[in-house]
């Protein structure tokens, strides 16, 4: 720093005064030109408000702690990330980081930040905020659900500030999806949060009761008001760092309102009635209802095809050694036999599921990667047609037989009878269970369906292991296989069928190896080969029996412009800054 002359000081003071008077003036705080990102979409019209519904109230507005969908939906509109996954192309692109270089060994990422940006409260954004953000996310005491993503090869990534607009990230090993982990890591304003973080009160900050003027972010909107039980209102962030091709600063909408509408049916009715502008996450049945009215009521529905959600049936193959669950332990002799699982899979009428459960708006699945994930799906995976004959042969070869009444019995003469757990709140999965129950009754199996409240069900999966089989669905947060690590690696937390933490069969060890390998391989085609093999292993050994992948369905009023829904969450609002009203 050189010495200031008096004239310069005065000029600076004047500039500061101007800043306070005209907060939206272009001149930035640290003197550099504001480095705005120019969007290529059709130019829209400024003004108006957008209303969407949330299934429940957000639990928090703290981006580091949010787990539930409603919280994340709101936070996404309030915050910005360094590198963003474009929901349309599923590839990464610049956001707050204007560009980045990767070292030749793939372990060092140097990110060049946009200069002259400001948080929604007018304070300048710099590399210090980035360093602070990663410090908070990586702090074990913060308990951020995203921390795991930032730990590569067992070590947290290291963050270093090179200068006020350059940050360096180093990893202990090359990491294939390194760019993608920056997506969704909301950059925090150090000037607002550092105090509470240092005081150890971070878990209480930015709750719903925090006054709006204590929030600031780099998202297109900022908090205006929260009315408990009714709505959250966001207003345009005047400092947002994107502009359209005509040079108009985004977002177009002045206000974004989230209404709390507790059930899907109620959301559909309110959308039909014109109370909300955009609707996503609704069933194929309601799609059918909405479709009929679309011309008369000035909205349109869109079927985007297969998304990333996959539903599957799985059996309890946990080690029950220490638990008093002898009834289930006996049945595990069947569940652990791959021929039994193959027979079940062969007997399931997947096309029937697609037609009856999803009205045809879904894709039958034989592997965990849905056809919506075009970059990673293994197109060579066989799609065997339903065959009760093959199922019977498999059961016979595994030592099962049938009584004269047609009941299936195992080699010790016990009747094959088990229950399938589903979540009571998910009508689709209960329907699937009813179809599978009927399919398996044709093999002489007696299946009961038990619907439980979601949390009670998850408690059985993760803690008590008191279940026999269950139907679940998972939605990948990202198209990249790294997002699925915790499902397919035997030590993963979502390795639902067996949570023991170590491989129990050679194919499981192979899967562990393949998943670890693809994580550190940088070449896409080589990674694809590795992940194809994982898909084959799953299809052959059926730790989970994949059933169907529902299509992503969205609806929007015709007056909404730039509406480009995508198959990746958040389906409809990912480009909320570019949406406008005709």
């Amino acid at each position: 720093m050189g010495k200031f002359r008096l004239g310069e000081l005065l000029a600076l003071a004047c500039a500061m005064a101007a800043l306070c008077l005209f907060p939206s003036a272009v001149s930035p705080a640290n003197g550099a030109r504001e480095d705005l990102m120019v969007m290529e979409n059709a130019a829209g019209k400024t003004g108006g408000r957008l209303v969407v519904a949330l299934r429940s109230e957000p639990k928090t507005l703290n981006p580091v702690l949010a787990i539930d969908d409603p919280s994340r939906d709101v936070i996404r509109c309030l915050s910005g990330d360094l590198i963003h996954i474009n929901r349309e192309t599923l590839k990464t692109g610049p956001a707050l980081a204007k560009s980045w270089n990767v070292s030749t060994d793939g372990r060092m990422y140097t990110l060049h930040l946009r200069q002259g940006l400001r948080f929604s409260d007018g304070e300048a954004f710099s590399a210090d905020d980035v360093v602070f953000t990663f410090q908070v996310y990586l702090d074990e005491n913060t308990h951020s659900p995203q921390r795991d993503l930032l730990v590569v090869g067992g070590k947290p990534i290291e963050v270093k500030k090179l200068d006020s607009s350059t940050v360096q990230f180093s990893l202990v090993q090359p990491y294939a999806a390194a760019e993608r982990i920056f997506d969704g890591i909301a950059i925090l304003p150090r000037h607002l949060l550092e105090k509470s973080y240092r005081a150890g009160e971070f878990s209480h900050t930015w709750s719903l009761s925090t006054p709006p003027n204590q929030f600031a972010g780099l998202g297109p909107f900022r908090l205006k008001e929260y009315i408990a039980g009714q709505r959250i209102v966001l207003e345009k962030n005047p400092y947002y760092w994107k502009q359209d091709s005509a040079g108009v600063r985004l977002p177009y909408f002045n206000e974004l309102v989230f209404l709390f509408v507790p059930s899907e049916d109620a959301q559909v009715i309110r959308f039909e009635g014109g109370d909300t502008d955009i609707l996503s996450r609704f069933s194929a049945d309601n799609f059918g209802v909405l479709e009929k009215q679309q011309a008369a009521k000035n909205y349109h529905v869109e079927d985007l095809g297969a998304g990333l959600e996959y539903s599957f049936l799985f059996f309890n193959m946990n080690d029950l050694g220490s638990k008093a669950l002898t009834g289930i332990a006996k049945k595990q002799l069947w569940f652990r036999d791959v021929r039994f699982r193959q027979a079940v899979s062969a007997a399931i009428d997947r096309t029937g599921i697609v037609r009856l459960v999803y009205n045809g708006r879904a894709t039958p699945l034989w592997g965990q990667v849905t056809p919506g994930n075009k970059l990673w799906v293994d197109a060579a995976l066989p799609h065997p047609t339903r065959s009760l004959e093959r199922a019977r042969q498999l059961l016979q070869s595994a030592g099962f037989s049938w009584t004269p009444e047609g009941t299936l019995v195992d080699s010790r003469g016990s009747e094959v009878e088990f229950s399938i757990l589903t979540s009571a709140s998910n009508a689709q999965r209960t329907k699937m269970a009813t179809i599978i129950q009927d399919d398996l009754s044709r093999l002489g199996m007696k299946v009961q369906i038990v619907s439980l409240e979601f949390r009670a069900m998850v408690d059985r999966f993760l803690n008590t292991y008191d279940y026999e089989a269950a139907i679940m669905g998972l939605v990948s947060g990202d198209a990249d296989p790294t997002a699925e690590m915790n499902v397919w690696v035997s030590s993963g937390e979502t390795h639902l069928w067996d949570l023991e933490g170590k491989p129990s069969a050679p194919w499981e060890s192979e899967m562990d190896r393949l998943m670890e390998q693809q994580l550190t391989t940088l070449d896409y085609s080589r990674r694809k080969q590795l992940y194809d093999r994982v898909q084959e292993i799953v299809a052959d050994n059926l730790p989970v029996i994949c059933l169907a992948s529902p299509n992503v369905l969205v609806a929007a009023r015709n007056r909404i412009g730039n509406f480009h829904p995508a198959i990746l969450d958040p389906y409809a609002l990912w480009n909320v800054e570019e949406l406008y009203a005709h």
Partner: protein, 343 residues
């Protein structure tokens, strides 16, 4: 005399209904779990006498359906396929009143035709067959729970009324406690305390019994009132004077006077408990798939798309209205009938 006719008419109607439900396997053309995955949400089949050319047929007939399997809701009547309705046909085996197996059905059409008088549900299952089978669960629940609560009600009411004093006080105050009990939460608690691996019908019977057991307070109050006045009658006092024991007095002289009240209570309570079953199933506490009950038939109406698109899913509810009305009419007629005796 008019009342007697009303009573007989009600009795006939109720008997007819219960026979249809008891022999559901015979009256229903299909099994309750039989799915036809090509025909989900099919509207009720129209039975014709006139064909599309305008010819009259003595034997009623139906037309087949054609659907594009890939698109739901694309069902159309196929006028080229024609199936006469036949009576006393052989079909899927079923158990007659839970005793012996029969293949006889009252009516049906030749394969691959399908007759759905009340349409089909989301799995292409015949709503009419499911309605009849569902009645077995729901009416059993109603009868069992009503029987239990009236039985306990009469017993406790009679003891309270006959002995009076602190016994009366104790029993009636505890009855009020039961009346104040939020039974729905009690049932949730009972269900939560039970393991997963109890068969669904056992759970259901248990829940119904719990409901019946906690429902004794209201009939007990009524019976107590009747007994209070009955035990002061001259012929009762006379019998006591001749040295009759309490048990004898209750059995021979007092309880018979309460029988009218008890019977009326049963007829009033049956529909109430059937409705309670509907509530239970609606909340996911009832029998589970594929076993139907009236509650599960109605619970699909919770969903907006069913409510707004498939009108025939309301039909079970529409049929239940006259059934419950008949029960209430019967209760009314019974009360009229017993009045002169209890005065």
């Amino acid at each position: 005399m008019r009342n007697r006719r009303k009573l007989v008419a009600c009795a006939f109607l109720l008997a007819g209904f219960h026979i249809a439900v008891l022999f559901a396997g015979f009256f229903a053309p299909y099994g309750y779990a039989a799915q036809d995955r090509e025909l989900p949400f099919t509207p009720p089949t129209r039975v014709h006498f006139m064909d599309s050319q305008g010819h009259f047929h003595i034997r009623p007939f139906i037309y087949g359906w054609q659907s594009d399997a890939s698109v739901s809701g694309s069902l159309q009547v196929d006028f080229t396929r024609y199936y006469p309705v036949r009576f006393f046909v052989q079909g899927t085996p079923h158990k007659v009143a839970g005793l012996f197996v029969s293949r006889e059905h009252l009516f049906g059409v030749d394969e691959p035709g399908r007759i759905f008088i009340l349409g089909t549900d989301a799995f292409g299952r015949d709503q009419f067959s499911r309605f009849l089978y569902g009645g077995q669960v729901s009416l059993l629940a109603g009868l069992l729970a009503a029987g239990l609560s009236v039985m306990f009600g009469v017993l406790i009411g009679a003891i309270a009324g006959f002995y009076g004093g602190w016994i009366d006080e104790g029993l009636m105050r505890s009855g009020e406690l039961f009346l104040a009990l939020p039974w729905l939460y009690l049932l949730f608690a009972v269900r939560a305390a039970m393991p997963l691996h109890v068969s669904q019908s056992q759970i259901f019977l248990l829940l119904v019994s719990v409901m019946g057991l906690i429902g004794w307070a209201r009939p007990a109050r009524l019976v107590r009132g009747v007994v209070l006045s009955a035990k002061e009658r001259y012929f009762v006092l006379a019998a006591r004077g001749f040295g009759a024991s309490d048990a004898y007095l209750l059995r021979r002289h007092v309880l018979p006077q309460a029988s009218g009240v008890a019977l009326t209570q049963i007829t009033l309570l049956i529909p109430q408990y059937v409705l309670a079953e509907v509530t239970l199933t609606f909340l996911g506490l009832g029998v589970s798939e594929p076993m139907p009950s009236w509650g599960s038939l109605l619970s699909s109406l919770q969903q907006y798309y069913v409510l707004s698109t498939y009108w025939w899913m309301f039909l079970p509810a529409v049929i239940l209205i006259p059934l419950f009305l008949t029960y209430y009419l019967a209760a009314d007629a019974l009360q009229e009938h017993w009045k002169p005796v209890s005065l």
